[in-house]
Amino acid sequence: MSAPMTMTEKILARAAGKVAVEPGDNVWVRADVLMTHDVCGPGTIGIFKREFGRQARVWDPDKVVLIPDHYIFTRDEKAHRNVDILRDFAGEQAIPHLYDVGTPRYRGVCHIALAEEGHTRPGEVLFGTDSHTCTAGAFNQFATGIGNTDAAFVLGTGKLLLKVPPTMRFVFDGEVPAYILAKDLVLHMIGDIGVDGATYRAIEFAGEAVERLTMEERMTLANMVIEAGGKNGIIACDETTRAYLRTRTRKRFEPVANDPGARFLAERRYDAGALEPTVAKPHSPDKRALARELGDVRLTRAYIGSCTGGKITDFINAARVLQGRRVAVDTFLVPATTEISRGLRSETVDGRPLLEIFQDAGCQISPDASCAACLGGPRDTFGRINGPEVCISTTNRNFPGRMGAKEGQVYLASPYTVAASAVTGRITDPREFLP
């Protein structure tokens, strides 16, 4: 009888073909999905061809997912060349999952597109050449970011050597108040443990408050474990997970649950009802403060977008605050995917389409779904910080220069807090605006 295992340990044991693993074990893990995008795909493909040969074939074309999303709506020639490299590779290798620019299949931000297209399946292993690949942990998938060289190795062999991480468990008890969003939960947690507090570790989110969250909100939690240095985030599979996936995939999947008696490196409990709207100050996601303490901070812009803050629920939440109001600073909105972009027309708040609410509020809405200015990007990127701006953003990182110019300052917050702050032009607790 083997020792009881956590969800992460169980997925890795299964993928390694072993009865049991424990933290610290180095195991060869079979990949169920390898995702790459326009920024890291070309380098990955370059290494794959150099190391496995020009005529080499990927281990399983159906398990490779190519999602151009980073630098799409730009005049930068190299950015276009990089998408061409993905396109050529998909053709040559007969990879069915290319979400190509300029076609109806284009989706946008990879971590959200992976979910929308049913690639985030419970109990499986997803590797991606992007640190926010951990987002898919919301679906009970082991998902982690890797570099180009490791990704090239996976392309050729379907396997990767991994060290099994111990799990830190974060339990949010009780009910989340109406003015609190998943971003507040995760910024609170990162503030507690710091930007290296989970290095080499898995982070599990659990508790009644997490169970009540939508998949989109759970993705916000899992997305930001990397901001604490985590290797992967993980959440149990339940009816919410299954309901989301029912329309997204027909593939069978086998979720995992913690064994009774599974061991955790640490367990922290929070009373969700006691949380207040939370902000991370420049220039680090762990510089925690409460929105109500930062009323003196004058802003020059607001930004709503990215894999962590540009989902349809993020826009619905922003619209609840912006409905019937005007923004006082430049406010940029970037839907993460084309599906979300369409949702801005079809979803309503108080009977009014989101798009109308945002237009009336004076927001600038990107017609194109992509990563946009979350990570700066080429100079002509929509919403990019090109000077000493003070920005409040629903994105996940605020390191120096993250959204463009080094002189810029970025405050991270929930869609409620960002929308409320956009209205006043200073950092604002959204309770002032919510019913």
């Binding site: 190391e51 080499a56 950015a79 640190s131 290296d196 100079r379 390191f399 120096p400």
Partner: protein, 198 residues
């Protein structure tokens, strides 16, 4: 193996956006000309006090600093392999830091671009940018040449030989774990371990 040269000193939580800003991620590291350009932008995202030396001198393409000395959580943030590659392409050989972000550390080993070496104590206050130092990987020490201060390092273990070979694939071939690459993909001598092969 020893690495000798001037050090470049940095603080805690130096993230991948500071190491290589996202606007340069349109460059593909496996294309030699773009590999070199990545080197010229190494640490271009670092906010600097006026007058402080840049890692790569203005207008230059390589760095005079062989060794970076840093605090906690070096390389946090993105999984971009461009980060260790930019530092290696600029000519740096090692980062000696209190701790590393996991993906950056792994990318250093996988690419063989840089030795990521952990210290056993905080050392950023013992060095100033430009100080000459000797990094002895076998002895696991970093020695300040002028003051003679010896900092103890954590051994690299099995990662050391992988980096020395030039990364994961080169090591796997050298040790017989995987077969030699097919002849059609071979290019002219790819040079030393840290080279950017095509």
């Amino acid at each position: 193996m020893t690495i000798t040269g001037p050090v470049y000193v940095l603080g805690d939580n130096i993230d991948t956006d500071q190491i290589i800003p996202a606007e340069y991620l349109n460059l593909v590291p496996t294309i030699p000309e773009e590999y070199r350009r990545l080197g010229s932008y190494a640490l271009a995202g670092l906010p600097l006090q006026s007058g402080a030396p840049t890692f790569v001198p203005p207008g230059g393409t390589t760095t005079p600093y062989a060794i970076l000395v840093a605090g906690k959580n070096f390389g946090c943030g993105s999984s971009r392999e461009h980060a260790p590659i930019a530092l290696g392409a600029a000519g740096a050989k090692a980062v000696v830091a209190e701790s590393f972000a996991r993906i950056f550390f792994r990318n250093c080993v996988a690419t063989g671009e840089l030795y990521p070496v952990e210290t056993t104590e905080r050392i950023v206050d013992a060095f100033r940018t430009g100080d000459e130092a000797v990094l002895d990987l076998e002895a696991a020490t970093l020695t300040h040449r002028r003051t003679g201060t010896v900092c103890r390092l954590r051994p690299l273990g099995d990662a050391g030989p992988v980096i020395a070979a030039g990364g994961l694939f080169a090591y796997a071939r050298q040790t017989g774990m995987i077969a030699a690459p097919p002849p059609e993909s071979r290019v002219v001598d790819s040079g030393p371990a840290a080279g950017p092969d095509d």
